[in-house]
Structures are given as structure tokens and as C-alpha cells.
């Protein structure tokens, strides 16, 4: 038999053997792959008043909301996301998420119906911070310090900042509701303008260039369940790790607090 013919083409018997081998291998391979599968997630780009958002949705909820800042941001975000998840396209589901986000930003308080899936939070501590943060209601903000204290790390304001920086699901996990202890607005992953417009949509009377919370906010105390005007003299010596700021007295009442009898907000 000629050498060229032998190493060149494949013959029919070989092809039969291949089919047979493939049949045998499929089940074994499926079984082995199942054990190492990455979770699946639908991804898509969503338009909103905050600009374009890359959104990923797993079986358990929203895994990722990412502000697209232009350039090759989308490619690098996808490349990073692929490491943890198997990405699939599912336009209808992503459309629903887009509608949720848009109507939330337009002022519908109950629009965000899906849960956040914190799979992509890097550490257990950060996951805990983000869990705790979900207890801060719409229309309220807390300080980094207070959030740290609530999660059992009263000296961990910086660590809280890191956790929020790594928040994989902004908007759904409301990291825009965290500010500096002195009432300054702090920073935001998507830029301070987005933080401002989110807080505005949640009822805070903020201008486009404000750097501090307005004086109209009331201070709510988590321990006493009392809320005061920001000008009340009691606020001067209060334990700030227990304070939550509300956009107006109505929001504070809704959260189950009673007005202070001294400043009568």
C-alpha cells in the first residue's frame, strides 16, 4: 500500500469507528461537563436615562448591572463576565429587566421586582455588606460608617467603600444610598451625576451640582426610632453609626419612625 494514500485520506471503516466512538463518548463527556459547568446567564444591553447598561440575569436574579462608559468597556466587561458565567442571549428577558429599570428611574417605587444575585461579589465580607445594604429603603441613605457598623465592622468605613466599589449589581443593590458621614455625597462607580439622578428619582431634593444632602432631610435614629430635623440640637451629639437620613418626614414615617418632640419635623 502506498505511503501517501495511507497517511492522506481517511477510509470508511475509520469513519464508522469515529461515529461509534462519538456515541460512546457523548454521555461520558456530558456527565463530566455537568460537574464543572459555570452558571448560565442571559446578557444584553439596556438603554436608560442613566445611559447604556450591560445587564446579566441568572436563574437566581440579576447578576450584573454595569454602566457602559464607552470605548472598549463592553468587550472588557464581557471578557471578565465570561470567566464566571456561561453567557447566552435572551432578548426578551433582558427587555423585561430594561423596562423594570426604566420605570424605576421614572419614579415607580415597586418597579424592581427581581432579586439581586450576589454571585460576583468578590469576598464573603463584601457580600455581607451588600446584603445589609439591601435593607436601606428607597428614600433613605446611610453613611459608610453606619453601614459598616450595621454589618459588624464599625471601623470599616473604607472597607465598606471597597465593597460598594465592587458592587456587581448597582441600582438593584442600592449602593447609591450610601454617603459620607458629614452629609457629603461621596463617590459613585458610574460617576457622581448618576448617583445624584438616582437619589433625585428616589425623592431627594438635589440639584445637579449639589455636593451635600439638602437641609430638608431628616435624621432617623435606628435605636430610638425617632426622627429629627437636621437643625435639631439633639443631632449634634448623636451616635452617627445609628443614623439613617430620610428624604422627607413622610419617608421616615413610612419606615415606622416617630417625629421628635423638640424640633417637631
Amino acid at each position: 500500500m502506498k505511503l501517501e494514500k495511507l497517511i492522506g485520506g481517511s477510509n470508511e471503516r475509520n469513519e464508522q469507528a469515529i461515529e461509534e466512538l462519538l456515541r460512546r463518548s457523548h454521555r461520558r463527556l456530558d456527565h463530566a461537563l455537568k460537574a464543572m459547568r459555570r452558571p448560565e446567564a442571559a446578557v444584553g444591553v439596556v438603554n436608560s436615562s442613566l445611559g447604556d447598561l450591560l445587564v446579566a440575569l441568572s436563574e437566581r436574579g440579576i447578576v450584573l448591572v454595569h454602566y457602559l462608559l464607552g470605548g472598549d468597556d463592553l468587550e472588557s466587561a464581557i471578557a471578565k463576565l465570561r470567566l464566571a458565567l456561561d453567557l447566552v442571549e435572551d432578548r426578551s428577558k433582558i427587555k423585561e429587566v430594561g423596562a423594570e429599570i426604566r420605570s424605576y428611574l421614572a419614579g415607580d417605587a415597586d418597579a424592581l421586582r427581581r432579586d439581586a444575585d450576589l454571585t460576583l461579589a468578590p469576598t464573603p465580607f463584601q457580600k455581607k455588606i451588600l446584603h445589609k445594604l439591601q435593607e436601606v429603603p428607597r428614600g433613605a441613605v446611610v453613611s459608610y460608617q453606619a453601614l459598616g457598623a450595621a454589618a459588624g465592622a464599625p471601623k470599616g468605613a473604607r472597607a465598606v467603600g471597597n465593597a460598594l466599589h465592587n458592587n456587581p449589581v448597582p441600582i438593584y443593590v442600592p449602593c447609591h444610598r450610601v454617603i459620607a458621614s458629614d452629609g457629603g455625597l461621596g463617590g459613585y462607580g458610574g460617576g457622581i451625576a448618576r448617583k445624584l439622578s438616582l437619589l433625585r428619582s428616589e425623592g431627594f431634593a438635589l440639584g445637579k451640582t449639589d455636593e451635600k444632602l439638602p437641609d430638608s432631610v431628616v435624621w432617623g435614629h435606628k435605636g430610638t426610632r425617632i426622627f429629627c430635623r437636621s437643625t435639631c440640637h439633639t443631632t449634634a451629639r448623636v451616635d452617627r453609626t445609628k443614623i439613617m437620613f430620610f428624604a422627607d418626614p413622610g419617608e421616615a414615617r413610612q419606615a415606622g419612625l416617630r417625629p421628635c418632640k423638640i424640633c417637631r419635623p
Partner: protein, 172 residues
């Protein structure tokens, strides 16, 4: 402003379906043994799945898959050689090379025997030449692909294949 166009990587299942047949064909011919081929096939795809997220978007999938398969074949051949060294006694070493040197008058007629003989001859080739030859003739890849898989230049890939072929012809 138009929203950016989302370009998702191919789903892994699609890659599997598209390339499984040719990968299996390659592995079967390169290893010459069905059980070995089945094992290598499994390992190739598991590795591919694990590494797939790290494959950059602009890279070609086919050479990347073959590179995994080739590396696995090479590892398996080395392990095999190591095991052989332990078992085979001193006076039987190099038996593959010796057998390859002997001439066999009957392989011109007998197809089954010709295959065995080809396997023997291939095992005497240097690793690079053997792999290049197998990729070219068993896998049917072109030279740019072979160069990418073997991390060498195209002329080097070409040279490896032609030298391998020449050696085989002199021994045949």
C-alpha cells in the same frame, strides 16, 4: 446615540458540535488506539471548556482546539514512554527504533500491516516533525494553523512536515 453592539462568544455547545468529529478523527489517527482516543477526546473537551473563557475574542477556535489535543497527545506519549522504560529490560530498549529499521516485504500488500508499520515509523520521528505531519495529514490543517498550534513560523512548520515525509519515505 446608538447603543453598543453586543457580540457574545459562541456558545461552547456549538463549538463542541462543530468540531467533535474532526477532533475525534485526529485523536484516533494520532493515537492509533480507540480507548486512548476516547480518553483523549474527553480530556480535550474538558480542558477546552475550562479554558474557553480565557480564549481571546479575536483568536481562531480551530487551531486552539488542536493545540489542546496535540499537547494532550504529547503528554500521553511521554507518560507511555516513561512506563515503558520501567517495564522493558535493558536489552529490549530501542526496540521500536530497531523494528523500524528492519524492512518488511509484506506491507505493500497488507493494509492492516501497513498501518502498524506506519505507526512504528511515526514513533521514531522527532516530536515536532511527527506532530506537524499528523496535523497536516490527519487533521488536514493548513500551514498558518499548524504554525499557530506549534508556536513556530510558517516556513518552520512546512519544513517539519516535509522532513518528516522524507524520512518516512526512505524508511518505507
Amino acid at each position: 446615540m446608538a447603543s453598543p453592539k453586543l457580540q457574545l462568544p459562541l456558545p461552547f455547545e456549538q463549538i463542541l458540535r462543530r468540531y467533535e468529529r474532526e477532533i475525534m478523527r485526529y485523536l484516533l489517527r494520532a493515537s492509533g488506539d480507540r480507548d486512548d482516543a476516547a480518553d483523549l477526546f474527553q480530556e480535550t473537551w474538558l480542558r477546552a471548556y475550562r479554558a474557553y473563557p480565557r480564549l481571546e475574542a479575536h483568536r481562531e477556535i480551530r487551531p486552539w482546539l488542536y493545540a489542546i489535543a496535540v499537547n494532550l497527545c504529547r503528554n500521553r506519549a511521554r507518560d507511555g514512554a516513561r512506563r515503558m522504560r520501567v517495564i522493558v529490560a535493558d536489552n529490549q530498549q530501542n526496540s521500536a527504533a530497531e523494528r523500524a529499521r528492519k524492512t518488511h516485504p509484506s506491507h505493500n500488500e497488507n493494509e492492516g500491516y501497513a498501518k502498524v508499520r506506519l505507526g512504528e515509523l511515526l514513533s521514531t520521528l522527532p516530536e515536532k516533525q511527527r506532530e506537524a505531519l499528523q496535523l497536516r495529514y490527519f487533521g488536514g490543517l493548513d500551514y498558518p494553523e499548524i504554525a499557530e498550534i506549534m508556536k513556530c513560523s510558517q516556513p518552520a512548520a512546512r519544513a517539519n512536515v516535509s522532513q518528516a515525509l522524507r524520512k518516512l519515505k526512505t524508511l518505507w
